[in-house]
Symmetry: C3
Subunit: 241 residues, 3 copies
Amino acid sequence: MATYVLVHGAWHTGKELEPVAAAIRAAGHRAFTPTIKGNRSGDSKTTGLDEAIESIVDYLIENDLRDIVLVGHSYGGMIITGVADRVQDRIRRLVYWNAFVPNNGESVLDMVPRPFAAMFEAIAAERGDGSVTLPFPIWREAFINDADFDTAQRAYRALNPHSLKTLVDKIALKVNPAELLVAKSYVNCTEDTSLPHDEPWHPRLSQKLGLFRLVQVPGSHELCFSNPARLAQAILDAGRD
Amino acid sequence: MATYVLVHGAWHTGKELEPVAAAIRAAGHRAFTPTIKGNRSGDSKTTGLDEAIESIVDYLIENDLRDIVLVGHSYGGMIITGVADRVQDRIRRLVYWNAFVPNNGESVLDMVPRPFAAMFEAIAAERGDGSVTLPFPIWREAFINDADFDTAQRAYRALNPHSLKTLVDKIALKVNPAELLVAKSYVNCTEDTSLPHDEPWHPRLSQKLGLFRLVQVPGSHELCFSNPARLAQAILDAGRD
Amino acid sequence: MATYVLVHGAWHTGKELEPVAAAIRAAGHRAFTPTIKGNRSGDSKTTGLDEAIESIVDYLIENDLRDIVLVGHSYGGMIITGVADRVQDRIRRLVYWNAFVPNNGESVLDMVPRPFAAMFEAIAAERGDGSVTLPFPIWREAFINDADFDTAQRAYRALNPHSLKTLVDKIALKVNPAELLVAKSYVNCTEDTSLPHDEPWHPRLSQKLGLFRLVQVPGSHELCFSNPARLAQAILDAGRD
């Protein structure tokens, strides 16, 4: 029995990962789905990256979790990298699932194409509370391309506006992921088109891990909605010793 | 219920897509398989691209088809792009299945490696009636690599000589595909080696669509022969809203 | 009924391919699993590439094998290329399975990243008998990433130290693979990370074959251990006419 902690991406909360956690539990493990500060109901949309990371560190300590397989999705890759840098002794393995892999001093916006960053900044300027949202056509075609329309709509309604500051802030790390002495895996959904084809998740970001285990699985960036059981199996294949 | 129109590639006719259409109909939709001018029995092998496009426009009008999911395979990508440019109001979504995506002024030969173009021109010069054919070893190894030998031979016998002019002619478009205000999908067969690995279908040509939905499916360029039901499912995943 | 000869990679023997051979036999074919000179019990670890190739030529002649589908894994790609160059008339088709494809004058070390070559040379220097081994963490994460830990360990224990000289020696060929008049296939396991992502097996090495048939299958470099039946099916799809 292993202990899985699933850290969601931008616009999500832990609740959307519950079906994945349920499938991991059904395989005999423990699974936790915290929500990062900034994405909880009522959180300020000016939350920064440091606070966001610290909120998951706090969660692990409060729940006395150790020997953790720590899984991060998308923006959650920033969080798990920062968490491992701060409480490495609690981590058994890091699993990046189509997730950002930052080196010290990098932000999410440093790892996305410049037009994406410009779009986020324009949306945030219009919204005025520090948050960004994702236009539905981009969500439907490029993020959740493997689901039917009803699933895409239902999932879209579950999203919450995301603090732009968490995407702008540069991470402070004592050591880059490639040098971190923790086992690492990368789960790559092979139809993930949320990043463009010339700046993909894998291998562009995965190779920043140094030695890592690759697991690939058919699916979009949002396989948590379109096929949570299949995603859970990929996470289990990535998370085992 | 949606209306699918499947537009075949070079050397094919609509008849070879009937098993795919049958699987689409079994899922509750309408499906049509016209044959492009130049590939019908008795057609001149000096047919040009403009006539070829116009023949499918005529088919849609004669059959009063509207709200169409228009699917194009290979050379058929030229046709559906031209058709959408002319009768955009009849199209619900374009689905490119390992298909050429032309911008205004481009031809098929502009999008294939120079040695391929030279081979086609040499074959046409030898045949003398304006048509090109495909040598069986290339067909068997690079086009239908996922089928058994009997299927590869049977499919090869169904092919008809193809007008080189349709591959040489540059398309005239009012607007390039990326700017066309129609939903778009790209179906990529992951073992398609009909184009070389350094000039692939996806993402080289797919990304010319701008925002599009990616669907990937195991199979060769000729999945219509080797597994029509699997292809039909991929087309349905690509064609839904 | 066809005749398959499966040629193992570095550190392996024919015995590890027996489950694959059994599945090929169950499909109605003959299958042989010779062990290359240098990897047999008691062999000198200073065996060179030429002797290694010759040992498989000898095996084919001693067993009077003809019309062979000759399959090579990894380093075994050097062997089958050399064998086909010497006894081409016995070969029906070459199947490279995540295998090196050498042109005349190339060695394995010419086709791997310089840091890999340096690591092998350092390990060999430490061992002192001419052989190299693979550190377990690299094996587990990058070679057999799709297996559970017990399978990874059991497989690791089956490995034998490999003669560095076979990886250093440059092959002597009368003709390069692309010009060799024998049918060729390449089986690519899509999660093979034993070579880095910027210097992959396919298409970097496969395209040196000229016209070839691509077969892809989910799995790591060591699919022979993690799913021998799935690998056997891929080899059968690659090996048929």
